[in-house]
């Protein structure tokens, strides 16, 4: 940086401290970077890494108790550190630096129209009239892909879908033509197909308007495809920073390498293999950490790591990292455990009677209560049929609102179906008592924070099924709890903890322990890893595969994350608006998807592939709404191959070699033209 060249934005030695009752929490310890105009910096880290607080600190938007300190914080040549709050608000925020937040549901004000919020963003900062501002608002709404933009100005946020709201947020950020956009997890709350579209839009706009962008995310795939430079954050520090291609091709820091290994399908992991995990958890950020922040979890740590902070090292001109070992020292043989590939239990080769047979199940709810509001019918599940064979992992994939969670509740007996039958080993669920069903089918839910009773200790939670079913005497139950906790990797000393005293990964282990303690045949996992960080997700996936091997479990695995599906599933069912649009062998579907929706879903997956860029899903961005299901094929409004017949007639199921598909492209002779 000794040249005359001044970066657009630079920050040096940023720290954020939050005083708490237990001591000072050093949320951000030492963050420095410089960003040139028109470039994208991706900041990646797991929860608790300090990413979001970094973003807020850059704009001076920290919570009141937090204290910020930095050696320098500059936008071009303007010093933002010493700038009074009033000037920051009037001249910088929203004008030269704009911010896009994670949750589009809460970041727009519900009582004002879109138009008012957009124009206000401009008139507050610039001496322009409402007419000019409105003109720009319409232009930008069109630019971000909102149709009939002029008429949308009078709409309120609740009239727009999540994806549309995020587009409006982007338009609002662009109103004043900012030089820098800070986007904090801009697509995390969105579905995968919408996520890909929004990211592509952001990347296009960034290029077109020549803006710089700081993209904060936990998703390595996103930064790999969009960022020019990537900074990996851990425990409040940037531990490694490099140009994107170089970082992913030649990571130096042990944490980066481990993190990449945690990703299913990232670095050539073979489906069904044991994923790399990072043992332990992020250290407490309260108080000082004497040595390297990562030392407590590092496989390559040596004695000095715990004593002195890791030195900053260079690897080429723009690649630096903090580690005591040059090149991050690789210890061979430590990366993978001794038994890399899981042995799948024998799947019934010739499918005799399926373990679970679902036939034409329908389920709908009335929504909208009250005397004056009309009731509306939400069709959550519309004629779903499939078999679950003993010993297999069937993944049910789909976006929010596709009915996958309702399906899970039906299979668990928590929700009655309106029509159709579900039979477990030949017996309809309706003829199986809840207690008997409970011993054979068990759930693992998405959110480990809400799936455990906060008033019970771990031992009470895990023992509860045995108590409920009066299995054995108290001593035998205690023994079983002990055994299952060991199997699920829960330390004995945790038994008296309450759920809020353990980490998210440990909670999910507790939920799994509770589900399998009675040795069920089927475990229904409803997004079991989507609330977890990647390193923890890898641990949980390994555990689930371990347990399957040990107990011959059958999993119905509900998820929206296709890289997880690819890693563990034997068969895949793709759901769209309450229907299964494609079901078949996982490998066949991933290699040759038939249904246009399956293809779009696969296109939207952002694996770590720096050369690929943001994928183009080529489907419409209207949001699927289970309250207004389109006529004919429900997917036709978004389908790139839609034909006249699609909007009138629902397609029947057609059989292809490895999959069943519900699409007009595969009915009759049309199949050839696909």
């Amino acid at each position: 940086m000794a040249t005359a060249h001044t970066p657009l934005f630079s920050v040096e030695h940023l720290r954020v401290d939050i005083p708490t009752a237990a001591g000072t929490l050093h949320a951000v310890r030492d963050v420095s970077f410089a960003l040139d105009a028109g470039k994208i910096l991706g900041i990646v880290g797991e929860s608790g890494a300090g990413k979001s607080l970094t973003a807020l600190a850059l704009l001076g938007l920290l919570p009141q108790r937090a204290r910020r300190s930095a050696a320098a914080l500059r936008l071009r040549n303007r010093d933002l550190l010493s700038m009074p709050e009033r000037d920051l608000a009037a001249q910088i925020r929203g004008q030269r630096i704009a911010m896009i937040f994670q949750d589009p549901m809460t970041s727009l004000n519900p009582v004002y129209t879109i138009g008012r919020q957009l124009t206000e963003a401009m008139t507050l900062h610039q001496p322009v009239g409402t007419a000019a501002a409105t003109q720009r608002a319409v232009y930008l709404l069109e630019r971000v892909g909102i149709t009939a933009a002029a008429s949308r100005l009078n709409q309120y946020p609740h009239q727009l879908s999540g994806g549309q709201r995020q587009r409006v947020m982007i338009a609002m950020a662009l109103m004043n033509g900012p030089e820098l956009i800070i986007a904090d997890e801009p697509t995390t709350a969105l579905d995968v197909t919408i996520q890909a579209q929004i990211l592509r839009l952001l990347a296009d706009l960034q290029r077109e308007f020549g803006m710089a962008m700081i993209l904060i995310t936990h998703n390595l795939g996103i930064v790999a495809r969009i960022a020019d430079t990537v900074a990996i954050m851990y425990a409040g520090e940037i531990v490694e920073r490099a140009p994107t291609a170089q970082l992913f091709a030649d990571p130096q820091h042990p944490y980066t390498r481990r993190l990449l290994g945690c990703l299913p399908q990232a670095h050539g992991t073979v489906p069904g293999t044991r994923l790399t995990t990072i043992p332990g958890i992020v250290p407490s950020l309260i108080g000082d950490i004497a040595g390297c922040t990562y030392a407590s979890r590092c496989q390559e740590a040596v004695a000095e790591c715990a004593v002195a902070p890791a030195p900053s090292r260079q690897h080429g001109a723009q690649h630096d990292y903090r580690c005591i070992h040059p090149g991050g020292l690789r210890v061979p043989g430590r990366d993978l455990s001794a038994r890399p590939v899981f042995l799948p239990p024998p799947v019934d080769a010739a499918p005799r009677a399926p373990l679970l047979a679902v036939r034409d199940v329908h389920c709908s709810f009335d929504v909208g209560r009250g005397m004056l509001r009309a009731k509306r019918r939400l069709h959550a599940v519309r004629g779903v049929s499939f078999d679950l064979r003993r010993g297999e992992i069937l993944a049910v994939v789909g976006e929010s609102g596709c009915g996958k969670s309702t399906l899970a509740r039906i299979l668990l007996g928590l929700q009655g179906a309106d029509a159709g039958t579900v039979s477990l080993a030949g017996t309809p669920l309706s003829q199986i008592g809840t207690k008997v069903l409970a011993r054979r089918v068990q759930p693992v839910f998405q959110d480990p924070y809400s799936s455990l009773n906060p008033r019970q200790t771990l031992v009470e939670i895990v023992r509860r099924p045995l108590d409920l079913h009066a299995v054995g005497d108290p001593a035998a139950r205690a023994g079983q709890v002990h055994e299952i906790m060991a199997l699920t990797g829960l330390a004995e000393r945790l038994v008296h903890r309450y759920p809020n005293q353990i980490s998210g990964g440990q909670r999910q282990r507790v939920a799994i322990a509770r589900a399998i303690i009675m040795r069920p045949e089927i475990v229904i996992c409803d997004e079991p890893t989507s609330a977890l960080d990647v390193s923890v997700q890898a641990q949980i996936l390994n555990l689930l595969l371990d347990l399957r091997e040990q107990f011959g479990l059958t999993y119905l695995f509900i998820t929206h994350d296709l890289s997880v599906v690819r890693h563990i599933a034997d068969r895949v069912a793709v759901m769209y608006l309450g229907e299964i649009v494609e079901i078949g062998d996982a490998r066949a579907i991933f290699e040759a998807p038939r249904h246009p929706y399956t293809r779009a879903l696969l296109d939207s997956v952002m694996t770590v592939n720096p050369a690929a860029g943001v994928p183009d899903t080529r489907i419409g961005h209207s949001y699927p709404n289970p309250l207004e299901i389109p006529s004919g094929c429900a997917f036709h409004p978004r389908c790139p191959h839609a034909m006249p017949v699609c909007s009138n007639f629902a397609p029947a199921v057609s059989e292809t070699p490895h999959a069943l598909v519900r699409c007009h492209l595969y009915t009759d002779a049309l199949a050839e033209s696909a």
Binding site: L412, S451, R493
Partner: protein
């Protein structure tokens, strides 16, 4: 080996839940103070026959309306003076605490039982059950409860049990509102689904999963209602439809002392201060119990 030396900061084994709870209770000042006052109050009430200097019913018209000992005309024989019938005021205060504590706890318990049961049913089942319970609540809220209590006691006839019953039956609305709202929120959570998927019956879900989690607000409401019930008894007695003379009750004592409040303020101040102390102590204890049992404060 180096890895071990770093990760070997194995935390000390956790305290068992009971011992951890005790440690948290001892660290909570409000709880300790409230508990101490209440324990002292209960002890005084139980030991009243042993420590009361006089018979609370013994009248001595020659020694009427004596002032407390700190007054120039006071005597050590009647520490808090005497009332208009010459009964020892301290003794009456001690015996009166028995009635106040019994009424407070019993009436609040009755209200709690009614309100929590209805609230959990309304919140858990929703729909028709919720509508019926909400209707009941609206009716109860529309009626002036003191008036209703007065007429009920008047109709049935005043006695300790009637007063407790009537106060209890009329003080469940807070319990209901709070329990219903909390139950509706908890019903959505996955651990309820998990419990049902484990084969728990509705009753088991309600008692084992929901009840412990709505306990925090219920404890606070309970202590609030103890105070309210004691005051309600005082009001009823004050108005003449509560306990009947010569039963020593704090409310009745205030009622009887009100006639000469300006000339002999201790007649009102002594039972009033006792009432105040008891209500404050219950509230302190309630806040404390909620704080030490709430999951978010366990660290």
């Amino acid at each position: 080996m180096t890895t071990e030396s770093i990760t070997a900061v194995e935390p000390t084994p956790d305290l068992s839940p009971g011992r951890a709870l005790r440690a948290r209770m001892l660290a909570h000042k409000g709880l300790c103070i409230g508990l101490a006052i209440i324990v002292a109050g209960i002890l005084l009430a139980l030991l009243a026959p042993l420590i009361a200097p006089h018979d609370p019913y013994a009248q001595d018209l020659a020694r009427r309306l004596l002032p407390p000992v700190w007054d120039a005309r006071g005597t050590w024989q009647n520490l808090l003076g005497t009332d208009h019938l010459g009964r020892d005021y301290l003794s009456r205060l001690l015996y009166g605490s028995r009635i106040s504590i019994v009424i407070g706890v019993a009436a609040a318990s009755i209200g709690c039982l009614i309100g929590v049961t209805l609230g959990m049913c309304a919140g858990y089942f929703g729909g028709r059950v919720d509508e019926a319970v909400s209707y009941l609540l609206t009716c109860q809220l529309a009626l002036p409860s003191l008036l209703l209590a007065m007429s009920l006691v008047f109709l049935i006839g005043p006695s300790l049990f009637v007063v407790i019953g009537v106060i209890g039956v009329l003080h469940w609305t807070y319990f209901l509102v709070v329990t219903r709202a909390a139950t509706m929120q908890i019903r959505q959570l996955d651990y309820i689904s998990a419990a049902r998927a484990l084969g728990s019956s509705r009753w088991q879900v309600m008692t084992h999963e929901i009840l412990p989690n709505v306990l925090s607000p219920i404890i606070v409401i309970f202590t609030l209602e103890v105070g309210i019930a004691i005051l309600a008894e005082a009001s009823l007695s004050f108005l003449g439809v509560g306990l009947q003379a010569p039963t020593p009750s704090w409310g009745l004592m205030i009622a009887e002392g009100k006639n000469s409040m300006f000339l002999r303020p201790w007649l009102v101040i002594a039972p009033g201060a006792a009432l105040f102390l008891l209500v404050i102590a219950t509230n302190l204890m309630g806040d404390g119990v909620r704080d030490v049992t709430a999951p978010e404060n366990r660290n």
